[in-house]
Structures are given as C-alpha cells and as structure tokens.
C-alpha cells in the first residue's frame, strides 16, 4: 500500500512537471530556444490566483481563470518584447535574455509581494480524500485532479496540434520556419500562440502544484521550472508525448528516491537519471534524431 501511495504522489508530481514541460517543449519546438523564464510564469500564475482568491475574494476557480488569462498575456508580451527582437541570432543571446526575463519576473514579484512565503489555499479545499482498500490507500483530491487535468490537457493538446488549422500551422513552423512562411503561414502569430498556450498551461500547473505544496515565494517557480525542463529533455525536447512521459517518469523517480533513498539526494538522483538517459539516447526518449549534413 505504501508503494501505491508513493506511486500516486509520484504520478501527481509528475503530472505537474509534465504540464510545465509542455510549455518548454512547445516553445523549444517552434523557436529552438530554452525559455528559462517559464518557471517564473508559474510563480506569477500562483500569485495571481492567490491574490484574486484571498484579497479580491473570488471563487478559487474563477481566480484560476484570471491567473490563466494573466499568464497568457504575460507569455505573449514576453515573447513580443524580449524574444522576438532576437529571433535567429543564435541560442546564447536568447538564453541570456530569457535568464534576464526570469530575474525580472522574480524581482517584480519580490517588490510587489515581498519575500515572505505565503500559504496557498488548495483549489480543492473542502473535498474529502478518496479512501480505497478499506482506508489503507488514500488519494488526495489534489493528486486525483492533477493527474486527471494532465490527461485532459494532453488529449486536448494532441487533438489541437494534429486536427486544427492553427495547430497544423504550429507544426509546420516548428518543422521549417522559412518554408512555412512561404506557404502563407503567419509565423509570428503561430509563435505567439505557442507562447500563449504554454504560459496558460504554466498558470494551471502553478495552481495545481501550489494546491499540493502550498508555499508561495518569488523563487517558487525556479526549481520546478528546471525540473520540468529536465523532464522535457528527458522525453525528447520538442515532442509533446515526450514531455508527458518525461514528466511522469521524473516525478515518480523523485518521489521514490525521497521515500526509499534520501530526501537530500532526490534531486541529484533525478539529474543523474537524465544524464544516463542522454548517454543512451542523446536526444531523449522520444526525440527525433537529427542527422547533420554538410
């Protein structure tokens, strides 16, 4: 039973990583950049939801909606102001800019909301835990809904990318930017849309994560951001199912090493697994192998 409980909390944490990793992987797929500010968008989403429900007095679900809208707008703005001027200038410049944006968001949050940690109220407050097997196995509503949300998002996103016109345009742009433009696809719009979706999902992931781990600080998003990024690379960056698999595996590894090996070493084990996977499969589990041509 202990094993099952750990597995479920692993799946739940992994689902959070998977949803964040989607933002990384989609952005990487379409603009070949490592968006290090993505983790901080999660944090902003968390604060928005917190402020809206605590101080404005909104229903938690409406607060979540507001957080999604704010993060979506934030994502589009960041892309427009900071990343678009640097498109096509090589990864180093964009990487440093993304780090600058990350510092910017963290310090804005520090100025507005202060360094003191805030206790986030769960989105599922008041719901009872699910008890199975005669009370031996409890599933918290946070775990259950996080896993369900992950599945729903994954199905929705896969359908969106494969069936709709906008989704196909996004795929075309990530395949070949120039050719897509020649075919009459609005590249800027597609990239903006990708950032919008990724950042909106970051808000969802932030609220789900904070429901389970309720400490909210300006640096809350940094570590989950790095882990989710690891998850995206683990699964093969650029691949949507890869992000899901990578996130889930990473979450399970983390919870299991916390439970059975060492709390302090859990992060080290997660990162060591990433290195091992990349040794065997240099482009991640589901990543495309790119052959270099002269």
């Amino acid at each position: 039973m202990n094993f099952l409980t750990n597995l479920i909390s692993g799946l739940s944490l992994g689902s959070v990583y998977a949803i964040i990793a989607l933002g990384y992987t989609m952005v990487y797929g379409i603009s070949k950049m490592l968006n290090f500010a993505h983790g901080d968008v999660i944090m902003i989403g968390g604060y928005m939801s917190f402020i809206m429900s605590m101080y404005v007095g909104m229903n938690a679900w409406i607060a979540l909606l507001v957080a999604i809208i704010v993060c979506t707008v934030l994502g589009i703005t960041i892309e427009r102001l900071a990343y678009r001027p640097l498109r096509g200038t090589g990864s180093l410049a964009v990487l440093i800019t993304a780090i600058g944006v990350s510092y910017f968001l963290q310090n804005i949050a520090l100025l507005i909301w202060g360094a003191n940690p805030k206790m986030f109220t769960s989105l599922f407050k008041g719901m009872g835990a699910l008890k199975l097997a005669g009370g031996q196995l409890t599933i918290t509503p946070e775990s259950l809904f996080t896993i369900l949300a992950n599945i729903a998002i994954m199905i929705g996103l896969t359908l969106f990318v494969s069936k709709t016109k906008a989704g196909k345009a996004m795929r075309a742009v990530s395949e070949d930017n120039g050719a897509a433009q020649l075919m009459g696809i609005n590249v800027n719009q597609s990239i903006s849309l990708t950032f919008a979706i990724g950042s909106g999902l970051a808000a969802v992931a932030g609220v789900l994560m904070l429901s389970a781990y309720p400490v909210l600080m300006p640096t809350t998003g940094a570590m989950p951001g790095i882990k989710a990024f690891t998850a995206a690379v683990f699964g093969g960056i650029g691949s949507i199912p890869g992000a899901m698999i990578g996130g889930l595996i990473l979450g399970i590894i983390e919870i299991f090493s916390r439970a059975y090996i060492s709390t302090e070493l859990s992060d080290a084990i997660v990162f060591a697994c990433l290195i091992l996977v990349l040794l065997v499969k240099p482009t991640g589990l589901l990543g495309k192998k790119i052959s270099e041509k002269v």
Binding site: G100, S102, F104, I226, T230, V233, I275, G284
Partner: protein
C-alpha cells in the same frame, strides 16, 4: 556547399594562424588591465578612497574574472554552452578547504598551504571535468547545456550530504548522508548543507590577481597553440574538422578539462576567502552569473570577460542603497544589452552611428599603412 566550408575554414583558420600580432595585442590588453587594475585598486584602498565594503569584494572580483576567463575557454573558444561552471568551482572550493585544513594541521606557512590547496583543487576539478566530459561531449548544443546544468545541481546536492571532520590527532573523518558523531564543532571541516566552517582565511587581493594572471596565461596560450586552433576549427565547423582528421572528442575534452581545472583553482581561492561557506553559494544562479560575464564581455573575448566580471561585481555593491530596485534594474539592463548588441537592425544602426562619430573607422587599415610607412622610414 563544400566550397563554402572550405572557404570558411581556410579564411578563419588562416586568420587565426596569421593573427600572431592580434594575439599579442589581446595578451597585452588582458595583462595590462589586470596589472593596472591591481595598482589602481591597491592605491584606492591605501588612500582610503575605496571603502571597506568594496575592499571586501576584491577577492571575489578576481575569482569571478578568472572564472569568466576559464568559462570562455568552453563557451567562446570551444563553442559549447556550459551551465555548470559553479559545479567545478564547488569541487575546487571544498576540496581546497579540506586540503588547507589538513596541511594547516601540520604546518603554518600560509603561501605554501594556499598553493598546494589550489593545485589539489585544480586536480580534483579536472577529474570532475574529465568524468563528466567523457560521456557528454558527444552531445550537441542544447543537450550539452542541460547536462552541464544537471551536473552542477548534482554536485551541489552531493555537497549537502557530505561531512568531513578533523580530530585532535589530525585524523580525517568522513560521513555520508549523516553528521559525524563525537567531535566538537571546531573540528568540523565540512558539514553538509551548512558547508565549510572554521576555515582559516588566507586569500587576499595579491593572490587573486596572481590567479587571474595565471588563468589568462593558460587560456591565451592554449588559444594560440596548435590545439587551440584545432578546437576553434571544430567550433567553426565540426564536420569539416572531422573530415581533416581532427579528433573532435579529444579536443573538446581538452578544453573542457582545462576550463574545469581553472574553475577549481578559482573556487579554492573563493573558499579560502571566507571562514564559512555554504554549498548553496554554488547553485545554478552562480553558473548563470559567470555565463553573463562571458556574454556581456563578448563571447571569446578574454579581457572583455574580465571587465564585465569586475563591473558587474562592483556596480551592485556600489548601488546597495537601492537594494530593492538593484536586481530589477540589473535584469532590465541585461535584456536591453542583449537586444541592443544582438538584434540585427539595432546593431547595424548602432554601428552606423558609431562610424559617423568615430573617424577611426578603418582603424586597422590605417594602422597597417602607418606601419608600412615607418617600416620604410626605418629602412
């Protein structure tokens, strides 16, 4: 296609090979900056123009400058993105501190202890670089970046669970994942997440400058050697480099290990500058900070990195009274500088403006013609 590559190799390669005078210039500027900076700062400190807070930053400035130079070997010269430089720094810092305590138990000559500690630190960091370098250098681009990031985090996490102690008889005690029992606090050397405690601080500004000079000497000589040119040609075109028989892995590993060893030395000096030092100091943000020095100083530019490291350590210290807005401004400036220097339209506009203001547009040409003239006169 092949034509283009050959051209790019031959022009770049030739330029690099023939550029002997440019190397001399680069070396002159780098050493000049270090020595002049040393004299000015020492004078400032002696006359009381520079306050105590800033004087406390002298060693960190040297450490960061030397880290920027060594990271430049990987990012600028070898062309690989590394996000784990702080990891090597941590290996150097903690192994250096440990060695200094062990030797310090038997003898008192500080310079000797410092030099031996730094050498051991460099050796340990080189081993770490070798272990991590062998598997990962087959990876390309962003994958390599993420693995170096992962490596840095692993090192920091391991430091959190490592415990070293030194008892009265000078016996070393080690524990993994649990504190050492039965020793006094003053006998603890490295205590998990608390880090190193009770370190005898030996670092000073002179040692810092010597470290910088040594790092610059190694990196510049490496850049200007046969190996350095091989590394740069692989950076410019990996496939072409392979096709002319260069062992890509060997050369990339060489740059990586040397860079790690130099980072270890810098880390050691950093560690011996504080009586207590926690592993959290060597997190991802520190790796990023060093990378920012390299990028703002100009990728591949040795002295640019030194200046960027010095300015970016001094300025936040000087604006401490605006603490709240300091980091925010830093972030905004970072973004603006990146857009200003890399955006093609803005870049060309700035260049156009610059050439209008600056009459020395064709500086190099004029210089060469001058040289010819003087040459003739001499003849």
């Amino acid at each position: 296609m092949a034509d283009r590559i050959l051209k790019s190799i031959s022009t770049r390669g030739l330029k690099n090979a023939v550029r002997g005078s440019q190397y001399k210039r680069e070396a002159l500027i780098s050493y000049g900056i270090l020595i002049v900076g040393y004299i000015l700062l020492q004078l400032g400190a002696a006359t009381g123009m520079i306050g105590h807070n800033l004087q406390g930053q002298f060693v960190p400035i040297c450490v960061y400058a030397s880290l920027a130079v060594s990271l430049n070997l990987v990012v600028g010269i070898s062309g690989e993105l590394s996000l784990g430089h702080a990891g090597f720094m941590a290996v150097g810092a903690f192994s250096g501190i440990l060695v200094s305590r062990i030797i310090g138990f038997h003898m008192g000559a500080e310079p000797v202890i410092l030099v031996i500690s730094m050498l051991v630190a460099a050796f340990m960091a080189a081993i770490a670089g070798f272990i991590i370098g062998i598997p990962i250098l087959g990876l390309r681009g962003d994958y390599l970046a993420i693995v170096t990031l992962a490596f840095g985090e692993i090192i920091r996490n391991l430091m959190n669970v490592i415990y070293f102690g030194l008892d009265d008889k000078g016996h070393l005690k080690f524990a993994f994942n649990h504190p050492i029992e039965g020793i006094e606090n003053s006998q603890r050397v490295i205590t998990g997440a608390i880090g190193a405690t009770g370190t005898k601080t030996m670092a000073n500004f002179t040692w810092g400058i010597l470290l910088c000079l040594f790092t610059v000497f190694i990196v510049l000589n490496m850049k200007n050697s046969k190996q350095g040119r091989a590394i740069m040609s692989i950076r410019d075109n990996r496939i072409a480099g392979e096709s002319i028989g260069l062992d890509v892995r060997k050369y990339k590993l060489m740059a990586f290990v040397v860079s790690a060893a130099l980072a270890g030395m810098a880390g050691c000096l950093f560690g011996l500058n504080y009586s207590t030092l926690a592993p959290v100091k060597f997190n991802f943000n520190t790796s990023v900070l060093i990378l920012v020095f390299v990028v703002l100083g100009g990728v591949g530019n040795i002295w640019g990195g030194i200046i960027a490291a010095a300015l970016l350590t001094i300025l936040p210290e000087a604006f401490r009274q605006f603490a709240d807005y300091r980091m925010l401004t830093y972030a905004v400036v970072l973004i603006l500088v990146m857009i200003g220097t890399y955006n093609p339209t803005i870049k060309s506009r700035i260049n156009a403006m610059w050439s209008k203001i600056n009459p020395m547009k064709n500086k190099d040409k004029k210089k060469s013609s001058k040289n010819k003239k003087t040459g003739k006169e001499a003849a």
